[in-house]
């Protein structure tokens, strides 16, 4: 049994125990049926048939099994009715996810913010969010994250991140504490097999910007000298409940731009060759003078040109933050 299967088995066993308790209290048919399905999955694991389609005996994709360990047939063997139901569910999930997205363009004090969000499929595992201050003097928070996996399973985790950051945003926490608490909640909710990388920003006055990184690709900073990555990283959210995080402060001058991105940008690959941090930095350097929406499009177009017609294999999200060129004055963070 693989480590992945062991983790699934532990979860299913815990789920079965919980269902057994519930059905003793409330013997509802739907709970009993669910418990039968969990039992069937555990039994299939025992005899090495978990993840094998009951109809055609072919393996079901690992991604689908990770998203729903109770699956018993592959997509090809689903009935037409079941396939339509799946498509409807996927479309509903996609609509819900789109409703959770922030405005595409945000102007806050001396900052302008824009993002580009392009899922690989119907739904995305990338997480982008803007948390507006709930009291005067608080910073605006920005989050760009990427949960493990793709598709519906990843989108569930993404919506969990959305909910917990919004729940924490009113607590007036310093950035490292905000990320620390989010990590603890995410770890409690998901178990150690699921995790998310993210970069969180707090935008203050006078060009002061604080950045906390939880295992996410390094943001790129464009100033008059050029473009370079901002180093520094903590552990991803959800791996260990007791992880702590540090904030790095940047002093951003008017006209300078910070670009956050998911690995769907830098890790896009054409055969064995990866787009990479160097091409990404060069693309941003060429586009750094453009209005933010055009900058984002230019960065996206550059990776697509590199792929030369090949399809991207991951969700892509780019988030650009610029201190407006007419910003003056400096007040404490």
């Amino acid at each position: 049994m693989t480590r992945e299967e062991e983790v699934v088995r532990e979860r299913l066993t815990a789920r079965r125990d919980r269902l057994a308790e519930l059905t003793r209290e409330r013997p509802e048919e739907r709970l009993v049926e669910l418990m039968r399905r969990v039992d069937a999955a555990l039994a299939a694991m025992e005899i090495g048939e978990w993840g094998v389609c009951e109809e055609c005996q072919e393996p079901i994709s690992r991604r689908r099994m990770a998203a729903d360990p109770l699956l018993r047939v592959c997509i090809e063997c689903l009935s037409e009715e079941a396939r339509h139901a799946l498509e409807r569910d996927l479309e509903a999930a996609a609509q819900i996810q789109r409703r959770l997205l922030p405005e595409r363009r945000v102007r806050h004090c001396e900052w302008e913010i824009a993002y580009l969000w392009e899922p690989h499929g119907a739904v995305s595992g990338d997480h982008v969010d803007v948390l507006r201050p709930q009291a005067s003097g608080e910073p605006l928070h920005l989050i760009l994250g990427d949960v493990v996996g793709k598709g519906v399973g990843a989108s569930f985790l993404q919506s969990n991140l959305h909910a917990l950051f919004h729940a924490l945003s009113g607590a007036q926490l310093a950035l490292p504490e905000l990320v620390r608490r989010a990590n603890r909640l995410f770890a409690d909710a998901t178990g150690s097999a699921s995790y998310a990388t993210l970069t969180a920003l707090a935008l203050g006055d006078g060009g002061r910007l604080a950045l906390a990184n939880a295992g996410h690709p390094r943001p790129l900073f464009a100033d008059a000298r050029g473009v370079r990555p901002i180093e520094g990283a903590g552990l991803p959210l959800g791996l260990f409940g007791d992880s702590t995080y540090a904030a790095h402060e940047l002093s951003v001058q008017p006209g300078e731009t910070l670009l956050l991105y998911s690995d769907g940008w830098t890790e896009a690959a054409k055969g064995e060759e990866e787009y990479g941090i160097g091409r990404a930095a060069a693309a941003l350097r060429r586009a750094a003078h453009l209005p933010l929406e055009e900058l984002l499009a230019a960065c996206r177009d550059d990776v697509d040109a590199f792929l030369a017609g090949g399809r991207r294999s991951d969700d892509l999200t780019l988030l650009a933050i610029r201190r407006t060129p007419d910003s003056t004055g400096a007040t404490p963070f």
């Binding site: 050029g226 370079r228 690995d263 941090i277 160097g278 091409r279 930095a281 060069a282 941003l284």
Partner: protein, 159 residues
Amino acid sequence: MRSLAQSDTERFADQLERSFRGGAWHGPALGETLDGVDAATARRRPIPGSHNIFEIVSHLTFWLEETRRRIAGKQEAPSEDGWHRPDDGSDEAWSDLLADLETAHRGLHADVRALDAERLEDTVAGSDPTLRGMLLGVLQHNAYHSGQIVLLARAGAAG
């Protein structure tokens, strides 16, 4: 999503890519300095007695390839230092040289990414006695000549 901790060899590969393509600490990377430089500019010798851009790119390409040879196990120091006065400074020769530079960088980047970190302490010929020292030298070498190319391109354009 790739693994979190960067090994020493991944750091070197990252720095090589950034010194060559973009994201260099000092400003434009080598590839960025060459962007838009045509054969005529590369041939021009705005400072009498100094190397031109064509020769510098040829020299850089030689050392990227030499580094690959040493990673592959070559022990003896080279008999030359890669300074060649090009016989043919044509547009075609210039684009071929840029393609060779790209190939040499891409190959070295791939070699370093695939390198076992323990091999960084291997002894190699040359002024830096280890692979680690040699790779650090390559990074400095790229940066040094990138600066020269910027100045020569500006001087050539002005002249």
